[in-house]
Amino acid sequence: MQREAPQQGLVEAARRRVARQGWLLCTPALIILVFAASGPLLIVLVYSFLAPGDYGGVRWELSTEAWFNVLLNRDIFSGEVGLADAHLSIFWRSLSLSVLTTIITLLLGFPTAYFIATRPRETRNVWLFLVTIPFWTNLLIRTFAIMEVIRSEGIVNTGLIGLGLIGQPIQMLYTDFAILLGMAYVYLPLMVLPVYAAMERFDFRLVEAAYDLYATRWRVFTRVILPLVKPGVIAGSILVFIPSLGAYVTPRVLGGGKNMMLGNLIELQFGAGRNWPLGAALSITLLAIVMAALIFYVRMAARNEAGRE
């Protein structure tokens, strides 16, 4: 090894000490996180390759049956292999409802963020605070609120009947529509906040310049505003899409037992379904989709950064 100058050695020693201090200070947090957040994910991966026990749990023998059962099933009598329609429809519901939730929250959230960003400075924080409050309040309670409003004896149906617009209450609760409504409602602040953050830094002199150059309002919007707040839109979409995909409470409360999403299907395997390896395989699948979405986001964000320089 090359001999270092004594001074360099000192710098190196100091650097090492700082690094050691940094690690030392982080250790307690990391121990808790590895024990009760990241580490257990490895156990899920292992369980997805085991055979199910008779009353929940697992038998310790290697099996790929759980992964096979994620999308396929085998007829018990004929041994014929077919697609697991029940699972496919749940995957489809999870994906389509998550995409729709993202689109709806974007269509509603963008104008809201724009509205807040164009308020005078004094009132802007008040509007922002009004969006932040629902963001920090209990998701279950907000879902309950939606449930009470749309149920058959709820205020919407009794109101419509009272006005004579409908004779019978409309069945809204326990439908895909209810899940979509609930998810859009609870995740909307997650869209507004990042879009607002991008909009806040937006320089409206650019809009003025565009108008001076005879741009129409539509062109100003699509050519000037939208490209510059795109990072916020992408961040908001990811922030809405990911929790929608893994949603458990909203579909359970508003979808009832029949209209399950991926999160409910996973939970079922650890409750009544008693197929822990299948539940583990489904969890890893969900995790993989989420990670893919995150990687897509990081790439998009990096490309935006590069495009700006």
Binding site: W23, A29, L130, I155, L286
Partner: protein, 268 residues
């Protein structure tokens, strides 16, 4: 008024209407929920007069009492522990040269924000089931450790933000005046950091208090917290008692978050 005079470059037609509708939709269901918690009748849609009977009913309900105590114990232990370790981690990751592996530290700290709760819940359920068999312990410890883990990023972020905004000169001055590093920390860094620590503590407390998914999966039999108790009530006929509990929880969240906001606004 001339047409040109009324033209605002910031205006986009329809945006304000959509925004105001959004604010209405955000608050209307919550308002309905709160209003009917004061209903004299059993209905959640027909107003029959003002009454506090559902608050009294919830207050006297033994299960609600137990769930409340459990929620508070878990949230207190988890948020205090999470804030303590998050403060240390924030001190370790700011205001010094980046050390090797810091990216991994960030990834681990933020992991609970990225992994779906249902997946973390399942993972903990599997692991704790094994530990329960081996040790025989079935107490609240499992819930507390699980809550501590997912509270860490919520405590960490405001503390780190505060640290990054803090001026180093005061600490350097203390060092110049021969204060020991520990004394500098106690007398200078910690008081300046306090608003960030309190903000982190409050967020962690609210996040723990509100958790449903992980608690539902990790809890042993008879360990309902307030949110999981409410989720369990779904199978029964819903009375305004649930509204009363919800309103109480909402009030706690709103007060805490408001204080958090005020703490964060006040700059060093």
């Amino acid at each position: 008024m001339s047409e040109r005079g009324g033209f605002s470059i910031r205006r986009m037609p329809g945006f304000a209407t959509v925004a105001l509708a959004v604010f209405f939709v955000l608050y209307a269901p919550i308002l309905v929920l709160v209003v009917f918690s004061f209903n004299a009748g059993v209905s959640i849609a027909n107003w029959e007069g003002f009454s506090l009977q559902w608050y009294a009913a919830a207050w006297e309900n033994r299960q609600v009492q137990d769930a409340t105590v459990r929620s508070v114990i878990v949230a207190t232990c988890a948020s205090l522990t999470a804030t303590l370790v998050a403060t240390m981690a924030a001190l370790g990751t700011t205001r010094r040269r980046r050390f090797r592996g810091q990216t991994m530290v960030y990834a681990l700290i933020n992991e609970p924000l990225m992994v779906p709760e249902i997946v973390t819940g399942i993972a903990l359920l599997i692991m704790f089931a094994q530990i329960k068999i081996v040790t025989g312990y079935t107490g609240l410890g499992y819930l507390i450790i699980a809550h501590t883990a997912f509270c860490i990023p919520f405590a960490y972020l405001p503390i780190r933000a505060r640290l990054e905004g803090m001026d180093l000169t005061l600490e350097t001055a203390a060092g110049d005046l021969y204060a020991t590093p520990w004394r500098t920390f106690r007398r200078v860094t910690l008081p300046l950091l306090m608003p960030g620590i309190l903000a982190g503590l409050m967020l962690a407390f609210v996040i723990s208090l509100d958790d449903v998914v992980i608690t539902e999966l990790v809890k042993s039999a008879g360990q309902d917290t307030l949110p999981t108790y409410m989720l369990g009530q779904l199978r029964r006929k819903i009375t305004p008692e649930v509204n009363a509990i919800s309103t109480a929880l909402l009030a706690i969240s709103i007060v805490t978050v408001t204080i958090f906001f005020l703490l964060n606004r006040r700059k060093a």
